[in-house]
């Protein structure tokens, strides 16, 4: 709200046109005014509600179009299924929630008050059956005496098993509001970043004033407005600014803002969160005002706005008064009545009663009268018109009653009459088809409280105003408790100037626009106590007596009140109910409202679609992916790919006629074991470790020694975490005195790089060592099998000596390839075969694969994937991810002897703790089923033979399995208690998950060529 003055609203409205005519105004709009309003009468739009077709105009919201069509009943409430209408004209709407669109685009709980009308809009009421008018569940109203706050905690306990089978399904079906789509959301979303000096939140009078000031001063400004146009309450209440009509001022202000290159105005953009360091989140409804977004268009966009300062000019929300029948369709906030009349030229009622406890509400009288409606009566507990209005023509005839509204009688469509109880206790009934209510205004303190700041009570306006705002944020205008137009403009201007100055923008900000300063007088009235359900939280059906019941039962803290009654937990987050609820609690406990306090304000300010928060990151784009240098070549060959972290790796290369993966993998393994094959292992992490102290550095991060490694040699290394548990392994080669080439596992490349940088920069900055990732620079292939040398000799320059003497096991050096390329060659073996790893610059990776295929043709060279790689490493008893599981020590893996005793290294001390060196630890062993045709499965547990499996007898589990083509049976690695001393023991493999139970032998984990003859051959 931005204050008021006595002048006319923004768009001059004309008398109600009950018999509308003319081609642009179809007859159905029975409650549309003949002229006026910010609607485009040249653009009629058809829409349907609950299957009934109606028309409205461009510029309408669904709510205003329904009002214009005389529709009052639009929803049913959550618990009692009471009929509900439209209460507000903004995003605080608690009642008028509808289901929009259909099918995969069905969208529950949309506020009719914020949904812009578009042609062929389809909306349906929700939470009713079979129809809105005849809702079977309204039978709940009869049970209302039982359905009080927290009733479900006291019952549904007997018999115990009825909860899941009977009671809960019943409750769940009854609960909820709309129905979500059950198909993938077909629309697109994205997310973007924006940066500015000053973010202005809310484009009403104060916000425009702030943006103008900061923009003129030279700051980079973003102004966000949730509505489809800026103006705020000016659009509904008008006023005179700088001697001109508000509409003219508004036009001038928006023109000026558009002319400033440093100012960006974002409409349909609602700020929903305030995060640390000046990060704000906003939702732009890019295409919600059309049926379906256009090609390449998103439906909504989430903005993260990084702002050095923010000025929150988010206005205020009018609050209801709690009295029996205050939820009837046709009971509407007074400001909303004015919005529908003035902005949308739609009459909420022909005979309107007003119930207000403050001066602002009185402007509704003028609005209705000007539009040709009738004022049935004004009920004001103060008993007379404010001084300002006493002289106004038309008001003289208005009936003013003291006291309060104590009941609302309902006709078929909504309010039929109201009952007014005077201060003397006498009641009278007054006919009216609409009741406008104003209980005062609550500044929108939510955004300013998102960092747990507490709002402060201000008696003069009987409302909370912002307290400790997040760093960098100021509030201005009605959000700051300034309720006159003049003050809003001044306050906004001052805030804009100050925020800009703090960002170093000190240009001429001009003067604040001027408007008159009306006094806002209010006499707090929270509740009219009378018989009947008086609602505090409309959507959750929380009544005044629920609040007092909670108090009686000891739920006195506001947070207990909220949780026990669900007050303020509905989709409006209590925007219209919280303050009333705690006022009633305050009265019941004899405390003041500030003593009672508020619940915590939490983002989002208004609900945000989950799809928007995900943006582009869904389906295949959920996470980025990494491709190996030979990816497209492998795809050509029909490889099956597997996700390994972010990488896509060739898992196996099926050939025509192969019946399953096992057949392909077995072929690949046998080809390697019998001849030669190759595998893209570029996914291994690769790090250049450079500088004179590189060797010393590696000595400290690895458990074994690297400073003594000769240039031209490679060594297997193992590193621990500082807690003594194994972190990663890999081979590291010394390519020059001051150059080591370190490799990591695929999974740990990132964490290891981070760890190494920590060691270099934090732990040992005295060491002269430099690190850089070389993972993506190199395409690396493992070439393995007895024919490896033959194959390599074909691609490598003949001058290079690949013999055992010329290139011994664990040798590492550069070689020239035929055709002029230089490669790095490492004689290392994961498969246990005679093998080399070769790396070439990544751009030649695909060429290398193709050339290996050509060179290896005589030997039947076979590309193999990660499955075959895994089979061969299990046959060789090499540990990998399943064994390096973050809980195993070097000794658990059989690598304890590698731990140097001559030096400190990361993890050395902690690895010595008693429980990590206990003799009964589970260590890596081999297992093979006694029955050679039995399939072994990972995750099966190991228990001693002849005992009953139980927590006490569970001795370990199978970590990795494969079908070994050379042994022609399933084999595996396992972590087994005291396993190394149990080779030859028959144990029970217990796998209840898969209903399997069989015997296996514990054995040496190296199943294949335990002497290592082949890899050295």
């Amino acid at each position: 709200m931005s204050g008021y003055s006595g002048s006319e609203p923004l768009s001059r409205t004309a008398a109600l046109d009950a018999n509308a005519s003319g081609r642009a105004a179809p007859v159905s709009q029975s409650h549309r005014l003949r002229s006026g309003g910010l609607i485009d009468r040249q653009s009629p739009l058809q829409f349907s509600f609950d299957g009934k077709t109606m028309t409205g105009y461009a510029g309408d919201t669904l709510a205003s179009a329904l009002v214009a069509n005389g529709v009052k009943l639009v929803a049913r409430s959550f618990k009692y299924h009471r009929p509900r209408g439209i209460m507000t004209a903004g995003s605080e709407e608690p009642s008028a929630l509808v289901e929009m669109r259909t099918g995969a685009r069905r969208e529950p709980n949309t506020r009719a008050t914020t949904a812009e009308l578009y042609d062929r809009l389809m909306a349906n009421s929700q939470n009713r059956w079979p129809s809105l008018r005849r809702d079977f569940m309204s039978i709940n109203s009869l049970l209302a005496p039982i359905f009080v706050a927290g009733f479900y905690y006291k019952t549904f306990m007997w018999p115990a098993k009825f909860w899941e089978t009977v009671y809960e399904p019943m409750i769940r079906r009854a609960a909820g509001l709309g129905k979500s789509a059950e198909l993938p959301d077909p629309d697109h979303y994205d997310k973007a970043w924006a940066h500015c000096d000053v973010l202005v939140v809310g484009g009403g009078s104060a916000g425009l004033s702030a943006a103008l000031a900061a923009g003129r001063a030279g700051a980079r400004v973003i102004l966000c407005e949730e509505d489809s146009r800026v103006g705020g309450r000016l659009l509904s209440d008008g006023g005179d600014i700088d001697g001109m009509h508000a509409a003219d001022w508004l036009r001038r202000a928006t023109d000026e803002l558009a002319s400033l290159p440093n100012v960006r105005v974002m409409t349909r953009t609602a700020l929903f969160g305030v995060y640390d360091g000046g990060v704000y989140a906003a939702l732009e409804r890019v295409n919600d005002h059309v049926a379906v977004p256009g090609p390449h268009q998103v439906r909504q966009r989430v903005w993260r706005i990084v702002a050095r300062r923010s000025v929150v000019t988010a206005g205020a929300i009018e609050r209801p008064i709690v009295f029996p029948g205050n939820d009837r369709p046709g009971v509407m906030m007074a400001s909303a009545v004015r919005t529908y009349v003035n902005r949308f030229a739609a009459m909420p009622g022909r005979r309107v009663a007003l119930f207000t406890n403050n001066d602002d509400g009185w402007r509704t009288v003028e609005a209705i009268q000007r539009a040709g409606g009738e004022i049935a009566a004004v009920v004001d507990p103060r008993g007379r018109a404010p001084a300002k209005y006493q002289a106004v023509a038309g008001l003289r005839d208005v009936r003013v009653l003291t006291g309060g509204v104590s009941d609302v009688k309902r006709g078929v469509d909504g309010v039929r009459s109201i009952v007014v109880t005077g201060r003397n206790g006498l009641t009278q009934q007054i006919e009216a088809d609409c009741l406008a209510v104003s209980g005062g205004w609550n500044p929108n303190v939510g955004l300013s409280c998102f960092h747990r700041g507490k709002p402060v009570w201000r008696d003069a306006i009987a409302a909370f105003v912002p307290g400790d705002a997040p760093r960098g944020m100021t509030t201005a205008g009605a959000a700051n408790g300034e309720f006159s137009l003049g003050a809003c403009l001044r306050d906004g201007h001052a805030a804009g100037v100050a925020a800009a100055a703090e960002c170093g923008a000190a240009g001429n900000a001009g003067e604040a626009a001027e408007a008159c300063d009306d006094i806002y007088a209010i006499s707090p009235l929270w509740q009219v106590k009378a018989k009947g359900k008086a609602f505090v939280d409309f959507q959750h059906d929380v009544t005044a007596s629920d609040v007092t019941l909670a108090q009686r039962e000891g739920f006195e803290s506001v947070e207990h009140l909220k949780r026990y009654t669900t007050l303020g937990m509905a989709t409006d987050q209590g925007k219209t109910s919280n303050v009333n609820g705690l006022a009633i609690m305050a009265e019941a406990t004899g405390r003041t409202i500030p003593e009672t306090g508020t619940t915590i304000y939490r983002p989002p300010y208004a609900p945000v679609a989950i799809g928007a928060l995900a943006g582009h990151h869904r389906d295949e784009n959920f996470h980025a992916w990494r491709l190996t240098p030979s990816h497209h070549w492998a795809a050509e060959l029909g490889a099956v790919f597997v996700d390994t972290g972010l990488w896509k790796r060739a898992q196996w290369y099926p050939k025509p006629g192969e019946k399953d993966w096992l057949e392909s993998v077995t072929r690949e393994v046998l080809s390697v074991r019998n001849s030669v094959g190759f595998c893209d292992v570029s996914t291994l992490g690769k790090v250049d470790v450079l500088g004179p102290d590189a060797g010393t550095f590696l000595d400290r991060v690895y458990i074994n020694t690297f400073s003594s490694l000769a240039v031209g040699k490679a060594r297997y290394g193992l590193m621990l975490r500082e807690d003594g548990i194994v972190m990663d392994d890999g081979t590291t080669s010394r390519l020059a005195e001051d150059h080591y080439f370190l490799t990591t596992t695929t999974a740990k490349a990132g964490p290891v790089m981070q760890h190494l940088e920590f060691c270099r920069q934090v732990l040992w900055p005295d060491l002269d060592v430099q690190l850089t990732s070389a993972t993506d620079q190199w395409a690396q292939f493992s070439i393995a099998g007895p024919k490896t040398r033959d194959l390599l000799q074909a691609v490598i320059e003949p001058s290079e000596d690949l013999s055992n003497e010329g290139f011994p096991f664990m040798g590492a050096r550069e070689v020239k390839l035929r055709g002029g390329i230089v490669a790095r060659l490492f004689r290392i073996s994961f498969s246990g075969e005679m093998a080399f790893e070769m790396s070439v610059p990544a751009c030649y990776g695909e060429a290398l694969a193709r050339n290996l295929m050509i060179a290896g043709k005589p030997f039947g060279v076979t590309p193999y994937g990660t499955e075959a790689l895994g089979v061969m490493r299990i046959e060789k008893g090499h540990v990998a991810g399943p064994e390096l599981n973050g809980t195993t020590t070097a000794d658990d893996l059989g690598l304890g002897k590698m731990m140097s005793k001559k030096k400190d290294f990361i993890g050395r001390v902690m690895a010595g703790r008693e429980a990590l060196t206990a003799p009964n630890r589970q260590v890596v062993v081999g297992v093979k089923p006694v029955d050679p045709v039995r399939r072994l499965r990972s995750g099966a547990h190991v228990v001693p033979k002849g005992v009953i499996p139980g927590p006490e007898t569970d001795q370990g589990y199978v970590t990795s399995v494969c079908f070994s083509p050379v042994l022609a049976q399933w084999i595996g690695l396992a972590l087994v208690e005291r396993g190394r001393g149990r080779f030859g023991e028959i144990v029970r493999i217990h796998d209840p998950l898969r209903s399997e139970d069989y015997e296996a032998e514990i054995c040496n984990p190296v199943f294949y060529d335990p002497e290592g003859v082949r890899q050295r051959g």
Binding site: Y275, D276, G277, G278, V279, V306, H451, R471, E722, D723, G750, M753, Q754, E757, F758, R760, Q761, V762, L763, W764, P765, D766, D768, K901, K902, K903, D904, R908, V909, M910, G912, R913
Partner: protein
């Protein structure tokens, strides 16, 4: 959350990885110590596991892995999330240091 990298300027927190309290210092471990493993294990236990878990301003390690790959030491209030000074780890650049670092 925004973090002012001393090299890159203010950046989005998503570019950084968090390690935690920068107060614990890695103990020196003398290989030839005759005191037995206990004292060293006690010292490392303290370093690896025990935390002041400050409610207030804490010095902590952040790694600008999604940026310039520098380890940083930031002062940050764990109650308000507000950052104070952010400085580079001693070995972030090429400065030569006589002593071991943090």
């Amino acid at each position: 959350m925004r973090i002012a990298c001393p090299f890159c300027g203010e950046r989005e927190s998503g570019e950084f990885t968090y390690l935690g309290d920068a107060s614990p210092k890695r103990p020196n471990f003398a290989v030839d110590s005759v005191a037995g493993p206990e004292p060293a294990e006690d010292a490392f236990y303290d370093y690896v596991y025990l935390r002041d878990n400050v409610a207030g301003v804490m010095r902590e390690y952040w790694y600008h892995g999604g940026g310039c790959r520098s380890w940083l030491i930031a002062e940050r209030n764990t109650v308000t999330h507000e950052f104070g000074s952010v400085t580079a780890a001693p070995g972030a650049g090429a400065t030569k240091l006589a002593q071991a670092g943090e």
